[in-house]
């Protein structure tokens, strides 16, 4: 049982933090997300140079062969400054699926250029009216003379307009399949837009677009998608922890400097007690998130740990985001000030991969299957 980073991990964290804090203060982030593609290509290249974009991939595939702990600490640093780069979308989700399922050729074609920053793949999975299930319905794939063609709409697809490659889930006779689609081919129409938290998404309309099965064809990828989602939830948990920590720090700093009624706000016990409750939420969420990372690292099935993380992080993000604004007062409502963006992003994180009620429902459904929950078991 060890929750500390080793020296290599610390060095990685310091390097990433150095890069990202230099790249993004509050004003600079606002500038970057106000322009297309919504992130800084220079930062992306620097991350690639640092090896960050290839962290989880095998060295044979052009990656660094690192584990979830390293990936998680990068996510935490991203969360701290709300860096808008599509690290989780490209590396963890799409890259992770390719690494899990892709043929040797696909891995070679995708993971090396992803690692060196020249190719951004994303997963196109969510469908209009869909929720967070690992199942595709609205987009279907049909094989015709050895060629798979996909039809239907995916939306919202995170960074779908900028992406160089799409991994698309689609209903097939075998269940839910995954396909690699070149977004520049005929039959793909993408309409990108900005999100409330500065992120980017797109509507992706497929009209007989040609795709290649990711790995073997005619396999149901529901379970694989679910594992990929679980991995994303756990890594996103680290991102959320970083964002919550800074939201709390920003709030306590404000409370010690802002004056009302002739004294600084930290003289108001009702406010300081609420800040203490934020800290409690953060530490409990951090504990679950770190544990989930270690479960992922151990190679065990990450789905239950992901649900636990999704619930705890969702609730904490919600609590800390809302209180950060309320304890600041009006200033936090302004786009110029940072803290509102943290709440905005935490809200997006919660709804990207299952809100707290969704995860709680999953935990409740299986609560009768065990006696106690033992983290060391």
């Amino acid at each position: 049982m060890d929750f500390t980073y080793d020296s290599e991990q610390k060095a990685l964290r310091d390097a990433v933090r150095g890069l990202l804090t230099k790249a993004y203060d509050s004003a600079r982030r606002r500038d970057v997300v106000s322009d297309e593609p919504g992130f800084d290509s220079g930062v992306w290249a620097q991350l690639a140079e640092m090896g960050v974009l290839g962290l989880p991939f095998a060295e044979a595939d052009g990656g660094m062969g690192a584990g979830p702990v390293e990936v998680g600490l990068v996510a935490e640093e991203i969360g701290r400054v709300l860096a808008p780069e599509p690290f989780v979308e490209a590396v963890v989700v799409a890259g992770g699926l390719v690494a899990d399922l892709g043929t040797a050729e696909q891995k070679a074609a995708i993971l090396a250029p992803l690692s060196d920053g020249t190719l951004i793949p994303v997963l196109a999975h969510t469908e209009p009216g869909g929720r967070w299930e690992p199942v595709a319905r609205a987009v279907t794939a049909r094989e015709d003379a050895g060629t798979w063609r996909l039809t239907g709409t995916k939306e919202p697809v995170a960074h779908g307009a900028r992406a160089d490659l799409l991994v698309v889930s689609a209903a097939t006779p075998a269940g839910t399949g995954l396909f690699v689609v070149d977004p520049t081919v005929d039959g793909v129409t993408r309409t990108g837009y900005a999100l409330h938290d500065g992120g980017r998404a797109a509507q992706v309309v497929l009209d007989g677009a040609v795709g290649t099965p990711l790995g073997a064809a005619d396999v149901d990828r529901t379970g694989d998608l679910e594992v990929a989602q679980a991995r994303a939830i756990i890594i996103r948990g680290q991102e959320a922890v970083g964002a919550m920590q800074v939201a709390l720090d920003t709030t306590t700093a404000y409370l010690t400097t802002r004056k009302q009624f002739g004294v600084t706000l930290n003289k108001f016990q009702a406010l300081t007690f609420r800040a203490a409750d934020m800290y409690v939420s953060l530490e409990l969420a951090r504990s679950i998130a770190s544990w989930a990372l270690l479960v992922l690292d151990s190679g065990a099935d990450p789905r239950e740990a992901a649900a636990r993380t999704g619930f705890q992080i969702g609730r904490a993000g919600h609590h800390i985001g809302q209180e950060a604004i309320q304890l600041h007062g009006g200033i936090a409502m302004t786009a110029e000030y940072s803290v509102g963006h943290y709440m905005s992003h935490l809200t997006a994180l919660e709804h990207a991969l299952g809100d707290r009620r969704f995860h709680l429902g999953r935990l409740a459904a299986s609560v009768g299957d065990h006696g106690t929950v033992d983290p060391l078991a």
Partner: protein, 391 residues
């Protein structure tokens, strides 16, 4: 004790409902129902329809358009208006500066301002808060110095909602910097926003909207007769104004309406044939919110029905506190119902994400203001603790 409305009140309610649902342009009401931003023109048009029928300022003195209604009637008027998706008359005009002028202003000021204020011929903005005077309003620093027949105003106001549309602004200004108590040196001044030296700068909020503004005053010269009531008595008028917000302090009907809308969305069939409302946890959350909103509505009715004369019922602070909490909780459940589509806030028309889901998160973010502006929930708790509980 009696559950039903009296026949007179029931008839009154019916009359209001009929008016609001038939006389206010459908396009405006649709925009409210769909949570679309109203244009200035739409807000003005709606208020003028109400004013023409005598329904814009019913709580004003009779000679300036008031109706002499009971508190319960005012409550029913307000709730039916919201229920019918009618934008309420501009609060700055009808709840704030209008009653102050009508109560404390000179006859000249009344003649000059009240009718155009009721009809929204003048769009008023509010100039109270300052960068360093939020909840602690009395620490404001914008100054007005007398120079002949004029006041010369310098300083900065902030959080001026819809200030971009403002024709005039009513301000609290410091006219006696040497007063022994901070509250004593403040006056209530009416300023033409087209005066030289007035600058309005929009503040972008976290939802991307620009509904609030900063307003700067640089040597703005204001005719002395635009000071309302007595010099250095502005704090009294401001307290009157803020205490005057009784009716509609908890926007129950609009919260109910939004909650019902969200529930309707949650009953739509999903791709897998189920509905969200079949999730017992979500259903329980809806049931919980419905009960809380019912409790709030009943509390508002108790306050309205039992308010004697002009003294606010002590539970008014409960209405503000719980009213904004529930307003926020309901904007939040809309986001949850939208689910992953709630991320697609910037999707253009033509997106497969419906409009209600696209506005869900920005509105949720925007409404975090509800527990901050206009007397934060911390201020309301202080009022409850001190005024009601004697703590």
């Amino acid at each position: 004790m009696r559950l039903q409305l009296s026949p007179e009140d029931a008839a009154f309610r019916e009359e209001m409902r009929t008016f609001f649902t038939t006389q206010v342009p459908q396009g405006i009401r649709d925009a409210v129902a769909e949570r679309r931003e109203l244009s200035k023109e739409q807000i003005v048009e709606a208020q003028r329809v109400l004013n023409a029928a005598g329904l814009a300022v019913p709580h004003w003195p009779a000679e300036w358009g008031g109706k002499g209604w009971t508190q319960l009637q005012k409550h029913l008027w307000h709730e039916e208006m919201l229920q019918a998706c009618v934008p309420p008359p501009l609060s700055f005009n009808t709840n704030m500066v209008g009653p102050v002028i009508a109560t404390f202003g000179s006859d000249e000021l009344k003649e000059r301002f009240l009718a155009p204020t009721a009809n929204l011929d003048i769009w008023w903005s509010q100039g109270f808060s300052e960068p360093d005077a939020g909840s602690d309003l009395a620490s404001l620093r914008t100054s007005a110095v007398r120079d002949g027949d004029e006041w010369v105003v310098n300083g900065q106001k902030t959080w001026t909602t819809l200030g971009q549309y403002g024709d005039w602004i009513f301000c609290l200004v410091r006219t006696d910097p040497d007063a022994p108590k901070r509250q004593q040196g403040i006056s209530f001044l009416l300023i033409d926003m087209t005066s030289p030296g007035v600058t309005v700068r929009p503040i972008e909020l976290i939802d991307g909207g620009v509904e609030v503004n900063e307003v700067w005053f640089e040597d703005v010269r204001v005719p002395a007769d635009q000071l309302v009531g007595e010099e250095n008595k502005g704090w009294t008028y401001a307290k009157f104004l803020l205490g005057n917000e009784r009716v509609g302090v908890a926007p129950v009907a609009s919260t109910k309406r939004l909650l019902a809308q969200a529930k309707e969305r949650a009953q739509e069939k999903l791709a897998d044939g189920s509905t969200l409302l079949e999730d017992p946890l979500l259903a329980a959350r809806f049931a919980e919110l419905e009960n809380e909103v019912l409790a709030l509505e009943l509390t508002a009715l108790r306050v309205a029905a039992n308010s004697a004369g002009d003294k606010p019922h002590p539970a008014s602070s409960v209405l503000k506190l719980k009213g904004t909490e529930l307003q926020q909780a309901v904007t939040e459940i809309v986001v949850d119902v939208a689910g992953p589509a709630s991320l697609a806030s910037g999707a253009p028309d033509g997106s497969d994400v419906p409009h209600w889901a696209r506005v869900a998160t920005p509105q949720y973010l925007n409404y975090r203001k509800a527990s901050i502006y206009g007397g934060s929930n911390e201020v309301q708790r202080s009022i409850i603790a001190s005024s009601i509980l004697g703590l």
